[in-house]
């Protein structure tokens, strides 16, 4: 086996396990939290930022740096905006005891 194929098998292995973990975790989220779940998981998908950082800072070519910088901007919006808006929503979810009449 070439190292490349080995790498592919290894990454696919991780992908498979992660998908199962994802299904197990998310199937248990109640309907009332589906919107925060969506915006929160959306923020996690901004993890592409990690890849974008390397492209923006690596100095391979001018265009690559620009593409990377644009990716960093977009992914940062996704991450920062996603987490903040989720937090804003979750802060509003209250139980009867604390959410009594005003």
């Amino acid at each position: 086996m070439t190292p490349e194929i080995q790498q592919l098998v290894y990454l696919t292995f991780i992908l498979m396990l992660a998908i199962f973990v994802g299904f197990e975790l998310i199937a248990k989220v109640p309907a009332t939290l589906h919107t925060p779940l969506m915006s929160g998981s959306n923020a996690i998908s901004g993890i592409t930022l990690v890849g974008a950082l390397v492209s923006a800072g690596a100095e391979h070519a001018q265009l690559a740096t620009w593409l990377g910088a644009a990716a960093v901007t977009l992914a940062t919006i996704n991450v920062v905006g996603g987490y903040l808006v989720t937090d804003r929503m979750l802060a509003m979810f209250k139980k009867k005891a604390t959410g009594g009449a005003k």
Binding site: L25, A31, N42, G46, T73, V85
Partner: protein, 455 residues
């Protein structure tokens, strides 16, 4: 110690943070902490990535991150809770765009092998579809584009040609993956076009499905970028998001008793004319009479729909509920899974109006108890309470589970006028014996009733 080792070790911690964070999202009591944990994990991942030896200059990074943070903070602060679906659609699009750009930029980091070229094409393709699809979804939700399904003759053939062009160019590109390959630009362009074509034939009422699906795509795009960069963390996080999107898509489809294929492609089929024959007559009611009935009620259920979001009525609903409760009445809310424009949309709006989440009941929980309810108040919901879904086999929404409001002793339907719902289906509920129509703006009507309680 070498930096690659530190980075990879930190990535394990980050992945753990995301997983535990998602687990904590399983209960409203721990959800906020879970989100915070997930954000910390993200911060850790970003911080250690900056140690990467490949990163030489920081000026671009700092500039881009500052810009992104400012926009992100402003967007998150300013968005109204009713506009949450548009917001999520936009963020999805940005995530997709980032994956597209990362895949593209990776071409410059050296000669790409066939394997890397395939992952780059996938990253660009999924990212591109997510980007343009999300923007169309945003346009439909924000009503910048017509919400109805946009179709034209030969649409299926055009889409077929697009897929063939996409595959052909992807293959050509993989044969010789260079940065100036014309096929690279073709793949980017056609992927964007494909995203548009996928979403335009889907109507506004089906948007909860589309948003969930695009959410899943944005995760898959991150996964594909992870394969490009050989990055475990991207793959794990992308898979978590992909799974969440697919689960939500599935829940939404089930709630409408339709297959995903039906939601995605039904725009192409000729619309069947509804065969529902309505009997009886409309019985309007005014706010004074509605007040008298509510004053005597011991058990009231609110059934909100997208119309409540449009008229921003959630705060006055809560006000009326307070009056009812101090009058000794039990108040609850029945939430249909596809009420609103994204999964859980109504729950967030009611939470914004400080309605305690333990008063919110899912459809399956409230339906068996509907018979004991004195008054069911339908606010801006239509298809989700349409009895034709259970009674009329010829109805386009036949088989969709609905909230059985007509089992309640009395039903108030708050509605602007007699227009059909988003699906364009006639609603026999309005003609039933125990149903009273309260015409006018929902917010104004509720306010008037609440006013009488206060007086």
């Amino acid at each position: 110690m070498n930096s690659a080792l530190i980075i990879n070790f930190a990535y394990i911690l980050s992945a753990l943070g995301f997983i535990i964070g998602l687990k904590m999202l399983g209960s409203p009591a721990t959800a906020r902490k879970g989100n915070g944990l997930s954000a910390l994990a993200m911060l850790l991942a970003i911080a250690v990535t900056l140690l990467d030896k490949e990163i030489i200059t920081f000026s671009w990074i700092v500039g881009a991150m500052v810009l992104g943070t400012v926009i992100g903070v402003l967007a998150a602060r300013l968005v109204a809770m009713t506009s949450m679906p548009e917001m999520v659609a936009l963020f999805n699009g940005f995530g997709g765009a980032a994956s597209l750009l990362v895949g593209w930029a990776a071409l410059y980091s050296g000669a790409a092998t066939t394997f890397v070229a395939i992952t780059i094409v996938l990253s660009i393709l999924i990212g591109g579809v997510t980007l343009s699809g999300s923007f169309i979804a945003w346009g439909k939700l924000a009503e910048k584009l017509p919400g109805r399904a946009i179709t034209f003759t030969g649409q299926a053939i055009v889409n077929g040609l697009i897929v063939i062009t996409l595959l052909a160019n992807a293959l050509w590109f993989v044969q010789s993956p260079t940065v100036d390959s014309v096929h690279l630009y073709a793949v980017i362009g056609v992927a964007l076009l494909f995203g548009i074509m996928l979403v335009i034939p889907i109507g506004g009422a089906d948007m909860p499905v589309v948003i969930s699906l695009l959410n899943s795509y944005s995760g898959l795009a991150a996964c594909a970028a992870g394969f490009v960069l050989n990055n475990n963390l991207l793959i794990v996080s992308g898979a978590l998001v992909g799974a969440s999107g697919i689960i939500l898509t599935n829940i939404m489809c089930k709630a409408m008793n339709r297959s995903l294929a039906n939601v995605l492609f039904s725009g192409f089929k000729a619309v069947k004319k509804s065969t529902t024959v309505v009997e009886g007559e409309i019985k309007p009611i005014n706010c004074d009479d509605a007040y008298l009935i509510l004053e005597a009620a011991a058990n009231v259920v609110f059934v909100p729909g997208y119309g409540m979001a449009v008229s921003q009525a959630q705060h006055v609903v809560r006000e009326l509920a307070d009056h009812l409760e101090s009058n000794g009445c039990q108040v609850r809310y029945a939430i249909h899974p596809v009420a609103g424009r994204m999964p859980g949309h109504m729950n967030v709006l009611l939470a914004e109006a400080s309605v305690p989440y333990d008063q919110l009941l899912e459809m399956d929980a409230i339906n068996p108890q509907m018979g004991a309810v004195d008054v069911a108040i339908v606010i801006g919901a239509n298809d989700t309470v349409n009895p034709a879904a259970t009674e009329d086999e010829g109805s386009p929404i036949y088989g969709m589970p609905v909230i059985k409001v007509s089992d309640a002793r009395t039903v108030f339907v708050l509605k602007r006028g007699m227009n059909a719902g988003y699906s364009g289906v006639e609603n026999p509920l309005f003609y039933k014996e125990n149903v009273r129509m309260l015409f006018g703006d929902a917010k104004a009507s509720i306010q008037a009733i609440a006013g009488e309680f206060a007086a």
